[in-house]
């Protein structure tokens, strides 16, 4: 018999090795649960937490917030993708992201082609309530490379470039450095020695 679990109270079959995210996506579409740090071909990372969902082990049971990208589906569990608590959590995370992000969408080169913009619109951010604080908005663009340019004032630390460089390319040229609020991407372009 196929194993099933419930998404918003409707039963669906899941596959061996499914995460909650892969399970929901297969049945309800790729964009059903918003994500920021997830990427095809990369291992689950669990950084942005925007993909969080509510999970109960039984109908009407106590719910726990789980990041769907790295949480395996539990048979017969009840997954709620848009509960009030989850909607609020996503909105609050995006609000935090926007405290350290230029609010210049209209003049930005990726306007209307930006995952952050899409998710922010979807969760319904109206304004940022935090007082002004530390930020990284003064970082300048790096145009030194022939075809890879970077603007770290807009970086949200999803870590996708670092992981692609490691997991897909095996190059280890990119990494995070520092920690906490100061964590940032470093590019050390001299390739690793292969003696």
């Amino acid at each position: 018999m196929e194993k099933t679990a419930f998404i918003n109270d409707v039963a669906y079959a899941f596959q061996e090795g499914d995460t909650i995210l892969s399970f929901v996506r297969r049945h309800l579409g790729t964009d059903y649960v918003p994500t920021l740090c997830d990427a095809p071909n990369l291992e689950p990372f669990g950084a942005c937490r925007v993909c969080s969902v509510d999970v109960a082990l039984a109908a009407g049971g106590p719910r726990k917030v789980q990041a769907s990208c790295h949480t395996p589906v539990i048979p017969s569990s009840y997954i709620y993708t848009d509960s009030q608590r989850i909607s609020k959590l996503r909105k609050n995370i995006i609000e935090l992201v926007l405290t350290d992000h230029p609010l210049d969408c209209l003049t930005c080169e990726v306007n209307n082609n930006c995952e952050l913009q899409t998710v922010a619109a979807r969760v319904g951010i109206r304004k940022v309530r935090y007082p002004e604080g530390k930020n990284h908005l003064d970082r300048t663009k790096d145009l030194s490379h022939a075809y890879m340019t970077t603007d770290f004032s807009k970086c949200i630390n999803c870590g996708r470039c670092v992981r692609a460089c490691d997991e897909v390319q095996g190059q280890l040229v990119l990494n995070m450095a520092g920690r906490g609020f100061d964590a940032h991407i470093v590019k050390i372009l001299k390739p690793p020695c292969r003696q």
């Binding site: 935090y130 007082p131 949200i156 490691d166 280890l172 609020f181 690793p192």
Partner: protein
């Protein structure tokens, strides 16, 4: 975390450890040079960004550490004792301002005035000898009271070393020890309270060439010094405990990851390992049993998050100690991608007694779900601070009033279980007992059962500012709620304390909920507990900092 880096680091073996190489490279200047990092890149065949990204994470490997000669403890107990400012002034008589750094925390919470100079920790009245200390590296005059009430398992002297290790002979004779550990119902003392037997069994059942027992001796919780007590006063209980765990989990190596803020612990544990090895209890084919087990001591480099088990594993591998997602769990894919059991010092140190006296004897002590004994660390606000071992289920009032002999002055709250533990208001002392369930059902956390007092005169806003600053400083920066939330929370509290800014209560509540349910690990997820306790129990005192 990178599987590639785990593999590249692991194939050099524990004796040629990348993380230790960082510390060695930092010895001369206080941080490794770019040339040092290039050499390590070539040797380990990793990226320069890999090694640079890792070293830039640690307090004691960053360029800011250069030239630091003395470090003041900025932990919670020294903060509420109010000794830090005067201590720093006294140090300024001997050291230049830029030679004085900070460490958190030195585990001298019982006598405060704590500082670190040239690999020695000092506290209490030691500062009076600062001229001599600087010249001749005097030993510290530290003393603290140790007492057991009840079974007294961990505080009992281990006695003659050769005799003590006979317990391992009995393990080897029996050939099976897991059932005894299961019967004991021993749960992890590191905070989560997870049964150790589950982990040992899961590790034993994995197919792998090499398995590891890792002892989390990164006792970073300000206020806690019970693991330090075990390492420095009962080191063989830990070593023998790890041997037993290694046998039960079918592991080949034991790694003790000890924080750099405890230099004596590092030395004493290494000496204890050497002693046990000379007696034949460590190495290849121990006593002809076919069981081989070896040890490695690794000294950390200043990062609280390394107390989180997956960050700790990445740290040993020389990666950035960012918290990993689970699954895979460490017992499936831990150190160097191999099955690994991670447990804290106090948990592992219980195993020799369990083997010697039987799992049922252990399970007979304590409450229905919290078995055995618990070490409690009391800070300098008590009349008799020190380390106390009590049976699980002992009333908190007994610990405070009888063992600690009460407070030196009026105390409004006790912060129990580390920075992520609950803030217990003084009027709740009679409602709690020392066990996991009593604390959690009352909305608190047993944690390491360390007790830091907040005296009546100490402003609650300053204390919660300290907790947010600590979390913002120690956040690994991986998950968004903790990386951004801890800094924004700190800024809100700091601005409300030092400027005309008033906090919006709804915004602070949103922030706390976001961190609590959204964070990847217990650092961002745990900070909201004491803050919420403060908001609940000290709302009047905190009122002026909020919008009306």
């Amino acid at each position: 975390m990178s599987k590639n880096l785990s593999h590249l680091s692991g194939r050099q073996g524990l004796d040629n450890n990348l993380f230790e190489a960082y510390a060695k490279a930092a010895e001369a200047e206080g941080y490794p040079s770019m040339e040092d990092l290039e050499k390590l890149r070539d040797k380990f065949l990793v990226g320069k960004s890999s090694v640079y990204g890792a070293v830039s994470f640690y307090d004691f490997l960053r360029p800011e550490n250069r030239g630091k000669k003395v470090y003041v403890c900025n932990g919670s107990a020294c903060l509420t004792a109010g000794t830090q400012q005067k201590l720093k002034e006294q140090l300024l008589g001997q050291y230049a301002e830029d030679e004085i750094g900070e460490m958190c925390c030195l585990g001298r919470c019982h006598e405060n005035n704590a500082f670190h100079a040239d690999q020695v920790n000092y506290s209490g009245n030691d500062i009076g000898n600062i001229v001599e200390i600087k010249k001749n590296k005097l030993p510290s005059g530290e003393t603290y009271h140790v007492e057991a009430l009840g079974a007294g398992i961990l505080t009992a002297p281990t006695g003659d070393v050769a005799q003590y290790y006979k317990t391992m002979a009995r393990v080897l004779e029996r050939g099976e020890i897991l059932s005894e550990i299961k019967t004991s119902s021993l749960r992890g003392r590191g905070g989560a309270g997870f049964p150790i037997a589950f982990k040992l069994e899961a590790c034993a059942s994995q197919t792998a060439d090499t398995k590891f027992i890792v002892c989390n001796a990164d006792e970073g919780d300000p206020g806690a010094y019970s693991d330090r007590y075990i390492m420095e006063q009962r080191p063989h209980a830990l070593i023998l405990g790890m041997l037993i765990a290694g046998y039960a989990a079918k592991a080949r190596y034991g790694v003790v990851y000890i924080r750099a803020e405890y230099p004596d612990s590092v030395t004493i544990i290494q000496n204890a390992i050497n002693e046990a090895r000379s007696l034949g209890w460590i190495g290849e084919n121990i006593m002809g049993s076919g069981f081989s087990f070896d040890f490695k001591v690794i000294k950390a480099q200043g990062a609280y998050i390394c107390g989180e088990e997956t960050a700790l594993l990445s740290s040993i591998e020389g990666q950035r100690p960012e918290v990993r997602v689970r699954p895979p769990y460490p017992v499936q894919q831990g150190l160097f991608n191999q099955p690994t059991v991670v447990n804290n010092v106090e948990t592992l140190a219980c195993l020799p007694w369990i083997v010697e006296n039987g799992g049922s004897a252990y399970a007979a002590i304590g409450t229905e779900r919290s078995k055995g004994t618990k070490l409690v660390s009391l800070d300098g606000h008590f009349n008799r601070p020190g380390i106390y071992e009590v049976d699980m289920g002992t009333p908190l009032a007994t610990v405070v009033n009888e063992l600690g002999q009460g407070f030196k002055h009026n105390v409004k709250a006790m912060h129990i279980g580390g920075p992520l533990g609950g803030l217990v208001p003084a009027h709740k002392i009679n409602e709690l007992t020392i066990d996991f369930e009593s604390f959690s059902s009352n909305g608190f956390l047993l944690g390491h059962a360390s007790v830091v007092c907040i005296p009546d005169h100490f402003p609650m806003i300053e204390y919660i500012e300290h907790l947010f600053r600590f979390t913002a400083h120690e956040s690994c920066g991986k998950c968004f709620p903790c990386r951004l939330g801890s800094t924004r929370g700190y800024e809100m509290i700091e601005q409300s304390r030092h400027s005309a800014y008033k906090m919006d209560r709804a915004l602070l509540d949103d922030l706390l909920e976001t961190m609590e349910v959204g964070s990847l690990c217990a650092l961002g997820g745990g900070l909201p507990l004491p803050i919420k306790n403060a908001l609940q129990y000290f709302s009047e005192e905190l009122k002026p900092y909020f919008k009306a």
